[in-house]
């Protein structure tokens, strides 16, 4: 296949960016999307030109490192699929594909398609944990947890922190990301002690980092590669109100 690409190129955080056009020949349908970009970069490097900067690591959809906007949709057209797991068989010979970085005030562009997502780390830092030191944990079977509860907690806990939810949201809200951690820990007995403080602190940090508010339109859910649902945001709102109104 021959694929035409329009790619956002931006030399650095403070520089002005622009789209550039490229064509990649001999694309095999079995290639992953990132392998297609590797091929483009191989050509650029051989010609002594700067390759397109994009982030990726595990290339099996679990580390959350990769991610950019493909034809207006974070991670591209497949549902519940990170861009490293997207395959070229999804496209047709002669297609033109536009690639842009996540665009959000809280995620400054570092170069081309690479953004700084350290704001997510700082939200977790505000309370996305249980405060237990190593050493004093009771026997793991001491507190039974119903299977259904463990499964629901897992559903929330599998967020990979890629930032697609922020990129999809017109307000660049981080509610889906924050709510997944809040719900994961609120469901489990281990998370009860800090339940109130956690939700208040994490939401306050999320706002301070420059993420926007949630207007319940669900673009985040639609693009989430791990299928984190809007229920998480509903839980977050309930948890926050309960905490905020606590005497």
């Amino acid at each position: 296949m021959r694929i035409h690409l329009r790619i956002w190129r931006q030399p650095g955080p403070d520089a002005k960016g622009h789209f550039e056009n490229y064509t990649v020949e001999r694309v095999s349908p079995n290639m992953s999307f990132l392998e297609m970009l590797d091929t483009l970069n191989e050509d650029l490097i051989r010609r002594g030109q700067d390759p397109v900067a994009f982030d990726s690591d595990c290339r099996e959809g679990i580390c959350g490192t990769c991610g950019f906007v493909v034809n207006g949709r974070p991670h591209g057209p497949d549902s519940q699929t990170t861009v490293c797991q997207l395959h070229m068989r999804r496209f047709r010979d002669g297609d033109t594909i536009t690639l842009e970085p996540w665009r959000a005030k809280a995620f400054p562009v570092l170069r081309d398609l690479v953004v700084d997502r350290s704001a997510f780390d700082r939200i977790i830092q505000a309370g996305g944990y249980t405060s237990v030191n190593v050493g004093g944990a009771p026997d793991a079977n001491a507190i039974p947890i119903p299977k259904e509860v463990a499964e629901q907690a897992f559903d929330s806990a599998q967020c990979i922190g890629c930032g697609a939810c922020v990129a999809a949201c017109k307000n660049a809200s981080a509610m889906l990301f924050t709510s997944a951690k809040v719900r994961h820990l609120a469901l489990l007995p281990q998370g009860q002690v800090e339940r109130t403080r956690r939700v208040l602190n994490m939401v306050a940090r999320m706002d301070a980092e420059g993420f926007g508010p949630c207007s319940n339109e669900g673009e985040c859910e639609a693009v989430c590669p791990k299928g984190i649902t809007l229920d998480n945001i509903a839980t977050l709102n309930r948890e926050w109100w309960k905490a905020a109104l606590k005497p």
Partner: protein
């Protein structure tokens, strides 16, 4: 130099307790005055940094990714072992110890492995307290599954994403310490040199991967938890950013490298499809609990699997190993897959694959049960291959997955450079010549949560550490060394990409230092590697500059290190003329094709000392002494 593993005396079961009691402590009020650098934020690095922060040390935590949560431990699928005996099926610390020593083909230290089995039970407690959502039974108790090389169910899991959940637990503990200001994190940093002052590790030099700045950091001790070297083979199940650079640069500063030829080839990966492939994807070993491995009995049988009748199928693992069946250890499963493919009985387009079939399990248990157990793995398989494993058998083939070798460490996890500690996959210590499934997560977290906090305190408390700042000339020398190498890479302006050179190195290693090795092939590799290295330094292309995000420059530096490291890997494989675990020398096999050890000559750890690029390294032997188990020919029949 004589290698002293510093194994405590006394009975095996008491060694660790006794050692902890005899170790010196650092007063809580003094800990914040001691700086500890931890490089890497996988299970070992994140758990070490978090635990040391909890104790009150001043911890600096570095990673190459944009966040500590990305480290490749996150991709571990199947589970984590612990000798909890929750299933009442006969498990115990002794049994986990024995299985691990035997699984490693008697090439690991008894004392280290016993300690690993002991602390395994604490790991599960700690992780549950953090809120890790392990799989549960309906009664609310933790569920377990079986893994290769064991006849008990001791593996704890969280669907097919156990590594993710354990890493997020450690990462969250780490972020808690960042909030408490005991730990500072430095993402987007690549360690490019180790700083040794008066014979002790006292700091590192990093490149800031965003600004390109070369940065210096001083400390009282350094911990490397930078993972294995599987990506030297180009195609592996590792992340594309995983690399040997930090460990290799430490080796060049004096840390011995032990048993590099002990590489693990995982039997169940999605087969290679084409030249442009950048990585291989693992399908968890847990699938072998319910999937049956087979190939056609007739060579060259190209019929689709459903047209091959039952009596024309060879379930070769069940046939050859009736007591372990499909759950033989990884090295045995991988080699047998290679043998049947070499006989022309491989399946799929390339003939380099075997079937992993769930038909019988789906019939017996129903599709829903299989979906609940392996749903995400089946989805992943379908995304990559465009085939539905509920309907047709998976095609799998072995791939490089884990490396048992690594920097040599003593019982305290300290390398041959005093003050440099090495944790997790980056060290060599616990898995011998073959790692059992679900033991990597166990070792990473054991090292970080439960071992390094004690042993590093002893080092700090018992060592006179003069004050060192980054103005010291050793930092200037290291920085200069790093800058020169970067300038050299940028100035070549050749026509070959780092990736194409890496791919060629990988092919060379896979062909000659892969699943099955022989003298002629290894010698051939030793001729070819220096030529490829020469070509790299003549003709590599690294466009652009060093003062911004330049991923190709980072990659070129890593490939340059693989090209040096690959030679050591091959030299080690050539010198060890026995077969053991993942290291299979064709010259040394039993009449039925199993790995044949030579305990008379090779019951030792091979620790290599660096003498310069292209110079023969010096071998130091650490004899392995078995007081509690008797090495025997491993049998899974």
């Amino acid at each position: 130099m004589r290698l002293d593993a510093k194994i405590p005396s006394g009975p095996l079961a008491d060694k660790w307790d006794r050692h902890r009691f005899e170790s010196k402590l650092v007063n809580p009020a003094n800990r914040r005055r001691h700086t500890i650098i931890v490089v890497g934020t996988g299970l070992a690095g994140a758990s070490a940094a978090a635990s040391l922060g909890e104790l009150g040390y001043n911890v600096l935590s570095f990673c190459i990714q944009d966040s500590p949560r990305r480290a490749h431990s996150i991709a571990a699928q199947g589970g984590i072992n612990a000798a909890k005996n929750y299933q009442n099926d006969g498990d115990s610390i002794e049994r986990l110890f024995y299985d691990t020593i035997k699984g490693g083909d008697y090439r690991a230290r008894e004392a280290n492995v016993y300690r690993l089995a002991q602390v395994s039970v604490n790991i599960i407690d700690q992780c549950v307290a953090q809120g890790v959502p392990f799989a549960r039974e309906y009664g609310g108790q933790l569920d377990n599954r079986s893994f290769g090389g064991a006849q008990v169910s001791r593996t704890f899991y969280a669907r097919g994403q156990t590594g993710q959940q354990l890493l997020l637990g450690a990462y969250q503990s780490l972020m808690r310490q960042v909030e408490r200001k005991t730990v500072r994190i430095f993402p987007f940093r690549e360690m490019l040199d180790l700083v040794v002052i008066n014979g002790r590790a006292r700091g590192i030099v990093c490149r800031n991967l965003v600004t390109g700045d070369i940065e210096r950091y001083a400390a009282d001790a350094v911990c490397l938890a930078t993972g294995g070297y599987g990506t030297a083979y180009y195609l592996s199940t590792n992340a594309v950013g995983s690399n040997v650079t930090a460990a290799w640069r430490a080796h060049k500063r004096g840390a011995f490298f032990a048993n590099p030829c002990f590489t693990q080839i995982h039997p169940t990966c999605i087969p290679v499809t084409g030249e442009d492939q950048s990585k291989l994807t693992l399908m968890s070993e847990s699938l072998r609990n319910d999937g049956r491995v087979w190939v056609p009995k007739k060579p060259g049988d190209k019929r689709p699997p459903h047209e091959i009748p039952e009596d024309e199928r060879d379930y070769y693992l069940e046939r050859k190993y009736p007591s372990f069946g499909n759950l033989v250890p990884r090295d045995v499963a991988s080699r047998n897959a290679k043998f049947v493919c070499d006989e022309g009985r491989g399946v799929g387009e390339s003939g380099l694959a075997v079937y992993l079939d769930f038909r019988d399990a789906i019939e017996r248990l129903g599709r829903d049960v299989i979906k609940a157990r392996y749903g995400n793995l089946f989805d992943m398989y379908r995304k990559i291959t465009d085939e539905d494993p509920y309907e047709v058998p998976m095609r799998i083939y072995p791939a490089i997955h884990y490396t048992m070798g690594g920097l040599w460490v003593d019982y305290n996890l300290m390398s041959t450079i005093p003050g440099l500690h090495v944790l997790g996959e980056a060290n060599f210590s616990d898995h011998g010549a073959n790692r059992l499934g679900a033991s990597a997560l166990m070792q990473g977290l054991a090292d970080g949560y439960f071992i390094i906090p004690y042993t590093i305190a002893h080092y700090i408390a018992s060592t006179p550490l003069e004050k060192v700042t980054t103005d010291h000339e050793a930092f200037a020398e290291a920085e200069n060394n790093v800058r020169q190498r970067i300038d050299r890479l940028l100035s070549i302006k050749g026509s070959e990409t780092p990736r194409s050179l890496h791919r060629r190195l990988g092919k060379l290693l896979w062909d000659y230092v892969g699943m099955s090795r022989n003298e002629a092939g290894l010698k051939k590799a030793l001729e070819e590697i220096p030529k490829l290295r020469e070509e790299f330094w003549q003709n590599v292309s690294v466009p652009g500059d060093a003062n911004y995000v330049n991923k190709n420059l980072e990659y070129a530096g890593r490939v340059a290190d693989y090209l040096e490291f690959a030679e050591l890997l091959t030299i080690d494989a050539l010198h060890r003329t026995e077969s053991c675990g993942g290291h299979f020398r064709e010259e040394s096999q039993t009449p039925d094709g199993e790995a044949l050890r030579d305990d008379e000559r090779f019951s030792y750890v091979a620790a290599w000392e660096y003498n310069g690029v292209g110079q023969a390294p010096t071998l130091h032997e650490e004899p392995l002494v078995f007081e509690y188990v008797t090495p025997t020919q491993r049998s899974y029949k």
